[in-house]
Symmetry: C2
Subunit: 132 residues, 2 copies
DNA sequence: AGTATATATCGGAAATTATCGAAATATCAT
DNA sequence: ATGATATTTCGATAATTTCCGATATATACT
């Protein structure tokens, strides 16, 4: 398979996943660290880390390290590919993603160490169905 | 998972696949029947049929039956979602997809029964790697 | 140095998806 | 009706993906 076709498919796969799409949508609010996302979505920090890795590989997300924390943000709208722009436009209208962003706003209002220690402390998440 | 999030993910999955993306891209040329696509891409007709089913389920493709043939076409640009528009814009620039479309032009120049009987007659396809 | 904490990676079981030939269905042509 | 042909569905296997706890790594704080 040609390199560029493969790359396009990989970028599409990166967002064809509920958790990764939820993470992408959260980053519309501006940069967030791993633990803020984990707390907002109530999923294990390792799952968030993996989701972010894929989104980075796909070129949708940039990272900025600051001490212990790694802040992730969407690539700028000018650099965003046409389909990413279209996707974000559609994501903005999805109710569950809107709810996620509302919860993230509340999480952002807290100090980061408070949020992170809370995540560490959390008991394993009960799963509603197979695959988040 | 919320219904609308699930639906968006399903639509993304539908195009996160080399064969389905190639089929979608071919339909930029206008409507094509199953066997024209199978001949153009040199893949089994049943694989094309399955790809088209997913693209239809995702709402990207419409069908028009005419006797034995089922012609598939892209939904109109006005009905196309922002994401689909962006994707088609990117697909237009991918070399392998451009080559596919060039081959499809040649196939379209032939009478359909000629193309279809050729597809039926074809020996099984040698696979270059796992997953097309 | 030693402890705490944030993130990343690993391992591997479970779920999902991909693939294509074979069989089924639907329509056309005689 | 019979046979031909276009498309779809089925069945089964192989490949991939998902998921999360455990472990590793990296930085901060004392």
């Amino acid at each position: 398979m040609a390199e560029e076709l493969r790359t396009l498919v990989e970028r599409l796969k990166a967002v064809s996943h509920p958790l990764r799409l939820r993470v992408l949508s959260l980053l519309e609010l501006g940069e967030l660290c791993n633990c803020q996302i984990a707390e907002t979505l109530q999923v294990p920090a390792s799952s968030v880390s993996e989701a972010l890795r894929e989104l980075r590989r796909a070129g949708f997300v940039a990272e900025r390290k600051d001490g212990r924390w790694v802040f992730m943000s969407l690539v700028s709208r000018e650099l965003a590919s046409p389909f990413l722009k279209g996707l974000l436009e559609e994501a903005a209208a999805v109710p569950e993603l809107q709810q996620d962003r509302a919860r993230a706003q509340a999480v952002k209002a807290l100090a980061i160490p408070v949020v992170c220690s809370k995540v560490q402390r959390d008991a394993p998440i009960a799963r509603e169905a197979s695959h988040v």
